[in-house]
Structures are given as structure tokens and as C-alpha cells.
């Protein structure tokens, strides 16, 4: 198992290096196929890692033969190369591998206009390594390093392959993204260093089994710094300002990875580091975290109602959904945490699908402006419109689809938060978040109404060559299937986390 873990960590990186050493002319032609093979192998590897027993490192008996590699790296700084996976991280790793694979597959036929596919695929593979590394890091510094690996490749993806109509805009979006995230992660690093000063180690397993006690002073400062750093990535209101632009300007595959995977780094960090390592301090800041998350739910939804750009709208909807995840974490209750973990996966699948669809619509109309696209998509692009409606319904939390369970569990968690948290406050959050779900339904239905419905006579079916191309169907089918599967059988994931 260790060999598999090491392979899926290193393979994409080496593959990216190999790809860059191929001449551009050949590389551009073969890149997507090559990337699909590599990321397909990684996907297979990540599925093989799926743990037989649920569990959490250092929680409960450590009897399961955990997949774990632990070697010293920089002894003078106390940094170790310690990676391992458990039932918290494997689903996210599989999600990452799946979305990267689908992005490569999608690039077989559909690539941004500027070309340079070789570099695009190579960067996607580097991003994959960084994300899988973050999800499997069991050392705070290694976590930080992997967290940072993703930044420059993503910056390049947005800056080079972004919206070709708006060079200045995509440059600004890319810079805002990378600079805000870097500042956040520098603050997070300060928090890690404070933890190390108190506890004397960077090792997450050790820190989880003997957490840093105390809810004020240095532990509180550490928790605040880590929380703010991760909140930039999540992104939590009001630190979300980089997100709408980055998503709107990024190419389709960039948006899919950004929303589907990168945002999860923040929430994963909270669950993996903040909650178990600094339990008392986290309890101190949890109500504030919950409050900001609740504001994010409402603010994100309200912002969605005002959007005229389909990609921005989906981006803002992510703010709302990530708010739910933040609220679930802040309850510190098993139900809330499980809900957050579930919503992480569900959001990755559904928003990935939504961005693929938005990209498809944008490619066909050469704009993502709702007013320019016009209405009556049901008549013009019936299959894509139907899928968009499906994805919107899944995203707004229709029971029976994946989006429902996470949010329901989060609300359940907020109804009954951890006993040391102020229950009334969380009840208020629950009510407001419940209203948020209504708002979510409102803007998604508005989107469906404004985009899909309408009189076909007013918007004559333009001459689109294809409604739903084969590659799109192949790429999206796994996401659709999993959305339905997780909707009707949530236990598939939830039983993994029964030990929480």
C-alpha cells in the first residue's frame, strides 16, 4: 500500500517533467492522451488505497494496517516526510484523481483556444500531485509545502489559458488568487510554528493523540492564524473576494479543479488540523467560524441572485456551499463533521459538473454572459440544458441527490452542536442556514428559468453543430452517476466516518 501511495504522489510529477521534455509540437498533440493515461493510473491507485476499516489516525486503536510512510527530511528544523491516508483523506484523494482524470479526458477534444496543451496537461498533473500530497500529509510542514505546490501552476493555468477576451482581467484574477492564498498560507505557517513551539512537534498524528490544550493565549493565536489561513482557501466570507474572478476567468478545466478540489484543501485542513490539534482553541473560535460561515451561506446566495455571468454565479454558489461545510465543522459534533466531509465530496462532484456545463455553454456561445446567451436553452441545446437542470437541482440539495445529505447533516449538527458550544447561537445559525437553502433554491431555479426556459420562437435554435458531444458525455457520466449514487446510497461514504 505504501508503494501505491508513493506512486500516486510521485507519478504525476515525474510525468509532468517528462511531458515538458518532449518537443512542443509533438507534446501538444499527445499531451491529453498521455495525461489521461497517467491520471487514469493515479485514479486506479487511489481507489486501491480505499481503506477497509473506517478510522482516523490516532483516534481509536491504531490496529488497522495504516498506509503510512514516515522518514526524516530536515532534522534540524524538525520536519519529517510523513504521509499516510485514512478514511478522511482517501475519498478526497479519489475525488482529486477522478476530476483530474476527467479534465485530461475532456482535453482530448476540447482545449482552450490558445493551445499549448502540453503545458496545460503538465500543470494539471503538478496540481494533482500537490493536492494529493496535501490530503495525505501527516506533517504540518509537509502539509504547508504541498498546499503551496498548487499555487504557481494554478496561477499559470488562469493567467495563460483563461478567458481569451479579457487578458487584463484574467491576469488580475490570477494574481489576486495567488497573492491572497500565499498570504493566507504564510499566516497558516505562523500558526503551525506556534503549535510547534508549544507542542514541540510538527507531526499531525502525534499532535492528534496529544493535542495542544488551552483555549487562550498562544494556542488561541495559533488557531486563529491557521483558521484565517485556511479560510482564505475555503474561501470563507469575507475572504472570498478572489474566488468569483478566478473561477470566471479560468478555463473550464481550471474552474473544475479549482472548485472541485482546491477549495477542499481549506476545509480538509480545518478537519485534519484545526479541530483535532487545537481542540480547546477551536472551541473558542467555533461560534465565530459558524457565524462567518452562516453569513457566507446567505451572502453567497444573495450575490448569486444578482449575477449575470453563469460562471460567476456558480462561483458564488460555491461560497454558499463552502459556508455549509464551514458551519458543519464549527459545530464540532459528529453529525456536523460527517456532514462537512460528505458535502466536501458532493460539492466536488456537483460543482465540477456545473463548471463543465458552464464551460460547454460558454464555448458554444463564446460568452458566459446570461443576457448574451439568451433564453430557451431547452429548445436549442436540449441535452445540455437538461443536464444543467439536473446539476442545479443536485446543487440546491434535492433529496435523492448527493447535495442533500451533506447539508442535512450539517443542519442536524447545528441543531445539536458539541456540548461545550453555545447551543442557542447554533440554533440561530441553523435557522439562517435553513433560509439559505431556500435562497439557494431560488437562484438556481432563477438560473434554470432564465437560461433554459423561454419561448423558443424568441431565441431561434442557433446552428450548433452538436448538442452534447461524445467526449462531453463520457467525461460527465461518472459525475452524474456518482451524484445519483451518493444521493441514494449515502452510507457508502458515511459508514467510513462512523468512528468520528
Amino acid at each position: 500500500m505504501n508503494a501505491i501511495l508513493l506512486t500516486i504522489l510521485v507519478l504525476p510529477l515525474l510525468a509532468a517533467g517528462a511531458l515538458w521534455s518532449v518537443p512542443a509540437a509533438i507534446g501538444d498533440r499527445l499531451a491529453a492522451a498521455y495525461g489521461s493515461v497517467i491520471s487514469g493510473l493515479v485514479l486506479v491507485g487511489s481507489v486501491l488505497l480505499w481503506p477497509q476499516h473506517g478510522g482516523w489516525f490516532a483516534y481509536g486503536p491504531h490496529d488497522a494496517p495504516a498506509t503510512e510512510i514516515d522518514v526524516p527530511w530536515i532534522p534540524s528544523l524538525g520536519v519529517r516526510f510523513h504521509v499516510g491516508v485514512d478514511s478522511i483523506s482517501v475519498p478526497l484523494i479519489v475525488l482529486t484523481a477522478l476530476l483530474t482524470f476527467l479534465c485530461c479526458l475532456y482535453s482530448l477534444k476540447i482545449t482552450p483556444r490558445i493551445g499549448r496543451t502540453r503545458s496545460l496537461i503538465a500543470l494539471l498533473l503538478v496540481i494533482e500531485t500537490g493536492v494529493i500530497g496535501t490530503f495525505s500529509a501527516l506533517d504540518l510542514v509537509l502539509f504547508f509545502v504541498c498546499f503551496e505546490i498548487v499555487l504557481i501552476p494554478m496561477w499559470l493555468v488562469i493567467d495563460i489559458w483563461g478567458d481569451h477576451h479579457d487578458a487584463a482581467g484574467r491576469k488580475r484574477a490570477a494574481n489576486t488568487f495567488v497573492l491572497m492564498t500565499v498570504f493566507g498560507s504564510a499566516l497558516m505557517l505562523l500558526g503551525f510554528l506556534l503549535v510547534q513551539r508549544v507542542a514541540g512537534t510538527f507531526d499531525i498524528v502525534e499532535l492528534t493523540s496529544s493535542p495542544v490544550a488551552g483555549g487562550h493565549g498562544i494556542p488561541l493565536a495559533a488557531a486563529l492564524l491557521i483558521a484565517v489561513g485556511l479560510a482564505v482557501k475555503v474561501p470563507l466570507w469575507p475572504l472570498h473576494i478572489w474566488l468569483p474572478d478566478a473561477h470566471a476567468k479560468a478555463p473550464t478545466v481550471g474552474s473544475v479543479l479549482l472548485a472541485g478540489v482546491l477549495l477542499k484543501l481549506g476545509t480538509y485542513g480545518m478537519i485534519r488540523i484545526l479541530v483535532p490539534v487545537l481542540p480547546d482553541a477551536t472551541a473558542t473560535i467555533a461560534p465565530y467560524l459558524g457565524a462567518f460561515s452562516t453569513v457566507a451561506i446567505v451572502a453567497g446566495s444573495l450575490a448569486c441572485l444578482a449575477q449575470t455571468d453563469v460562471k460567476r454565479l456558480i462561483a458564488y454558489s460555491s461560497v454558499g456551499h463552502m459556508g455549509f461545510i464551514g458551519l458543519g465543522i464549527s459545530t464540532l459534533s459528529p453529525a456536523g463533521l460527517r456532514g462537512a466531509l460528505f458535502a466536501n465530496i458532493a460539492h466536488g462532484l456537483i460543482t465540477g459538473l456545473l463548471f463543465f456545463l458552464a464551460g460547454a455553454i460558454k464555448d458554444r456561445h463564446d460568452t458566459s454572459d446570461l443576457r448574451a446567451i439568451g433564453r430557451a436553452l431547452y429548445a436549442r441545446l436540449p441535452r445540455i440544458a437538461a443536464l444543467l437542470t439536473f446539476a442545479c437541482l443536485a446543487s440546491l440539495g434535492l433529496p435523492g441527490l448527493a447535495g442533500f445529505w451533506g447539508e442535512m447533516l450539517v443542519l442536524l449538527g447545528a441543531y445539536d452542536p458539541a456540548p461545550w458550544l453555545p447551543r442557542t447561537t447554533f440554533l440561530v445559525f441553523m435557522v439562517i442556514a435553513g433560509l439559505g437553502t431556500v435562497l439557494t433554491a431560488a437562484y438556481f431555479l432563477r438560473l434554470v428559468r432564465n437560461l433554459c426556459q423561454g419561448d423558443p420562437a424568441e431565441h431561434p435554435p442557433a446552428a450548433f453543430a452538436v448538442d452534447l458531444s461524445r467526449i462531453e458525455l463520457i467525461t460527465w457520466a461518472p459525475l452524474i452517476t456518482l451524484t445519483v449514487l451518493l444521493g441514494v446510497w449515502p452510507g457508502l461514504l458515511l459508514h467510513q466516518w462512523s468512528a468520528l
Binding site: 528544523l77 500565499v182 505557517l189 510554528l193
Partner: protein, 483 residues
């Protein structure tokens, strides 16, 4: 006073460097019959051999402790003027590697033709002599003299080309240097007056028992000495001379200034802070911390607006000095030397790459680098790697971990505010380097940069890349330098 064997050992490296300097000058002056190429090659080889001797010596004695030129003190341990200890070994290694890199980048066909070879290498070795003595100095007189031995050759080198910009740069550097020496000597005289000694160890001992009035004088005196050093390493607000000097000098000399001269200044300040006038809890450390915060912020913000490659590197080197001063304020020698090591290697590489481009495009604008990722992939990849290390982001883990060590030192010294300022500067610094990286990644314009790069330049840049890559994978090497 007779010289003991230990004394000879401790000054072996500076001595050999000095002898090498004279030899180089003589070879160049008296061997006129040879062709320019042969002369240049011989001079380069001779210089390299001398520096390599120093590196071998440092490697062989890396764990030794050799106090030299000692005399017994009235109280406490013996007072020594020059000490070779592991910290010295680490600093010497960094300085000598820097020097060797500059020599490599000044090989035949790389060094501008109008720069006289013999004088250039003579001055370079002289400065290195001073730099090595400076890193081992343990009394204030030696410190000042060594610092002057570093500085005087430096501005002679800036003016080597004898054109207007070079003269202007040299003049600025010279005036500032004289001023800073005066300020420093003023501080030293007070320090001597207060403590009655020039030996750092004795000063450190006596400072603790001073009565409050004298302690205030001692603080002021220490501040003057630090300000003197701040001029040399161009810490803000004593930095104004640096950009013009960097741009005016031949690019090889600029490399030398950024690598050897700057490291020497930092080494001297490190010696001063760790072993003498700024003990733990001293307000002088707070002063250094403030200097660090201001320096990195101003340097990075100014770098953000530059459109010329060398000017950008000049300002960003000010920002890097700020980051060097931060662990220095915490007196964490390991972090400082580690940072210096990474900084020296990638700065050499970056200037080497800039030199290649500027030989063919004298304008030196960032826009000249557009599309290099396609037209000159090797050079572009190396340059991007160096810039990423300077920014401290993956894949430049060498830079990331040295910044990390700096953060750790600052946090351990309870300087939380400085840590926040540093976090902000990580962001601004990244913005600086990303502008350049973005240019490299653009698709080629109508006239992309593509040339036959000279073999020595290829060798040196590849070497720097390889070293930086090794340091990125095994960062513990850097931190082992000073332990």
C-alpha cells in the same frame, strides 16, 4: 607576539587569497606575450584554485575550533581577534562559493571586453580576503579593517569600465561607504570608551554590568555600529546608493556586489550580534528587527514597480536583506547562514541568466524576456527556478525552507509582529517575481530571444540550478553549514 601554529591555520585561507590576488595581478601584468584568451583562462584558473583551496580547507576543518591571536584577559576567557569555528566555516563556505561563482561567470567571453582582467580578479580576491577575515573577526578593530578591505575593492570594481554610469555608481558607493565607516568608527570609539575593550567577548561581558547611564551610551554606540553595517548591506533607509550602483557597474561586478559584498556585510553583522554587542533581550535586537521589517517592505514594494531586470533584482535584493535581518534580529545563526547559502546560489544563477540576455539585448527590460519559455527553454526554466526560490515557493523549496527557518527563528524570539510583516512580504515578494515569470511564460512576441549561449555561462547556470535543486530536495545541507 609570536604567531602560533593555530594562528597560522586560522589565517591560512585569507592569506592564500591575498597571495593569490598579488599573483594574479603579476601574471596579468608581466605576461603580455600571451593571447587575451590564454591570459584570461590562466587568471581564471589561478583564482579558482585559490578559492578552491579555501573551500577544501573549510571542509577539512569544518568541526574545528581555532581561536587565533589570543591574549589572556583580566577577567573571563582569553580574548581573541580571529576565531575559526563552525559558524565561521559556514560563512566562509558561503562567501567562497559566492566568489567562485562570480569567477565562473566572469570567464573569457563573458566578462565585458573593456574590463581589465588582472585588476578585476585582483580586486575580487582582495575583497574575498577581507570578507573571510570579517566573518572570523572577534574584535572591533579587525572588524572595521576587514570591512574596509571588502569595500575598497568593491567600488574600484564598479568603476573598472571607466564610463560615466560606472563612475557615478562607484562615486555613490564610495561616498556612502566613507560615511558609514565614519559612523561606525564613531560608535566603536564610544563603545571602547564605555567598556574599555575592543574584544567582542570582553565587551559582551562588561556590557551586562554597566550602570544605566553608561548603558544608554553603549546602546547609542551599538546603534551607530549597526547603522554603519546597514549602509554596507543597503538596509532601508540607508539603501539609496544601491540601485544606481548595481545598474552602473558591469553585470559581473553587480553579481559580485549582490553575492559576496552583501554576504560579507551580513556575516559581519551576524558576528557582531551573536557574539558581542547585542545580547539576548537587548534593545539593539529590536532595532535590527525594525530595520528588517522596513527593509523588506520598502525593498519589495519598490521592486514591484521596476521594469528593468537588474533594477528589479537590485530592489528585490534589498527585500532579501530584510529577510536576512529578521533571523539575525533573533541571533539565529543557523537560519541566517542557511538563508545566505540559498540566496547566494540562486542570485548567482539569476544574474548569470540576466548577463546572458543583456549581452545581446543591452536594454535589459523585463519585456526582453517575453516568450523565452519557448524560444530558449533551458535558460528560461533555470531563471524561473531561481526566481521561484527567491520568492520561496515550491518548486523552489530551498527558498521556502530558508524562509521557514527565518519564520521559526522570529517566532521563537517572540517577535510576532515581525512575523506578520514577513508574511505580508512573502506575498509582495511573490508579486515581484511573478511579474517576471509571467513575461517568460507569455507566447513569443515577434522577436523572441534566442541565441547561442556561451559554454561557460551554460556550465555556471546549470551548476547553480543543480545546486539549488539539491538544496531544495535536501534542505538540511544548508542548515548544517553553521552547526
Amino acid at each position: 607576539m609570536t604567531l602560533t601554529w593555530t594562528d597560522w591555520q586560522a589565517i591560512a585561507v585569507p592569506l592564500v587569497l591575498a597571495v593569490g590576488a598579488v599573483a594574479v595581478l603579476l601574471v596579468d601584468s608581466f605576461w603580455k606575450s600571451a593571447s587575451a584568451e590564454l591570459r584570461h583562462t590562466v587568471v581564471t584558473l589561478l583564482t579558482s584554485v585559490v578559492i578552491l583551496f579555501g573551500l577544501v580547507f573549510v571542509w577539512a576543518h569544518r568541526d574545528d575550533f581555532m581561536p587565533a591571536f589570543c591574549r589572556s584577559a583580566v577577567e573571563g576567557p582569553a580574548q581573541c581577534s580571529l576565531v575559526f569555528e563552525p559558524l565561521t566555516a559556514g560563512l566562509w563556505a558561503v562567501l567562497l562559493i559566492g566568489g567562485l561563482g562570480v569567477v565562473g561567470l566572469s570567464a573569457y567571453r563573458l566578462l565585458a571586453a573593456d574590463v581589465p582582467v588582472g585588476e578585476y580578479h585582483f580586486l575580487l580576491l582582495s575583497a574575498l580576503t577581507g570578507a573571510t577575515v570579517l566573518a572570523g573577526a572577534r574584535d572591533l578593530a579587525t572588524l572595521v579593517i576587514a570591512l574596509e578591505v571588502v569595500s575598497l575593492p568593491s567600488f574600484a570594481m564598479v568603476a573598472l569600465r571607466r564610463d560615466r554610469r560606472g563612475s557615478e555608481g562607484a562615486m555613490k558607493a564610495f561616498l556612502v561607504s566613507v560615511l558609514s565607516t565614519a559612523v561606525m568608527l564613531f560608535g566603536i570609539s564610544y563603545l571602547y570608551g564605555v567598556t574599555g575593550s575592543l574584544y567582542l567577548s570582553t565587551i559582551a561581558n562588561r556590557l551586562t554590568g554597566l550602570d544605566p547611564d553608561l548603558a544608554r551610551v553603549a546602546f547609542a554606540a551599538g546603534l551607530f555600529v549597526i547603522v554603519g553595517f546597514a549602509f554596507k548591506i543597503a538596509a532601508v533607509p540607508f539603501h539609496a546608493w544601491l540601485p544606481d550602483t548595481y545598474v552602473g557597474a558591469p553585470i559581473e561586478v553587480t553579481t559580485f556586489l549582490a553575492v559576496v559584498s552583501k554576504s560579507a556585510g551580513v556575516a559581519g553583522l551576524l558576528v557582531l550580534v551573536t557574539s558581542g554587542i547585542a545580547p539576548t533581550g537587548s534593545q539593539l535586537r529590536t532595532a535590527v528587527a525594525i530595520l528588517a521589517a522596513v527593509t523588506m517592505t520598502v525593498g519589495n514594494l519598490a521592486a514591484l514597480r521596476q521594469v528593468e531586470a537588474v533594477r528589479l533584482l537590485a530592489w528585490s535584493s534589498i527585500g532579501q536583506v530584510g529577510f536576512l535581518l529578521a533571523p539575525l534580529a533573533a541571533a539565529d545563526a543557523q537560519a541566517v547562514v542557511g538563508y545566505l547559502a540559498a540566496y547566494v546560489v540562486v542570485t548567482l544563477g539569476a544574474f548569470g541568466a540576466v548577463a546572458v540576455v543583456q549581452r545581446h539585448r543591452p536594454g535589459g527590460l523585463l519585456a526582453d524576456y517575453r516568450g523565452m519559455v519557448r524560444s530558449e527553454p533551458g535558460l528560461a526554466a533555470a531563471l524561473i527556478f531561481f526566481l521561484v526560490v527567491l520568492a520561496g515557493l515550491p518548486p523552489g523549496l530551498a527558498g521556502l525552507f530558508t524562509k521557514f527557518a527565518a519564520f521559526q527563528a522570529v517566532i521563537d524570539a517572540h517577535l510576532g509582529w515581525l512575523a506578520i510583516v514577513m508574511a505580508l512580504n512573502v506575498m509582495i515578494g511573490l508579486a515581484v517575481y511573478l511579474r517576471w515569470i509571467a513575461e517568460l511564460f507569455r507566447l513569443p512576441a515577434d522577436d523572441p530571444f534566442s541565441v547561442d549561449i556561451e559554454t561557460p555561462a551554460v556550465t555556471m547556470i546549470s551548476l547553480c540550478t543543480a545546486v539549488a535543486a539539491v538544496l531544495s530536495i535536501l534542505p538540511s545541507i544548508m542548515f548544517a553549514l553553521a552547526t
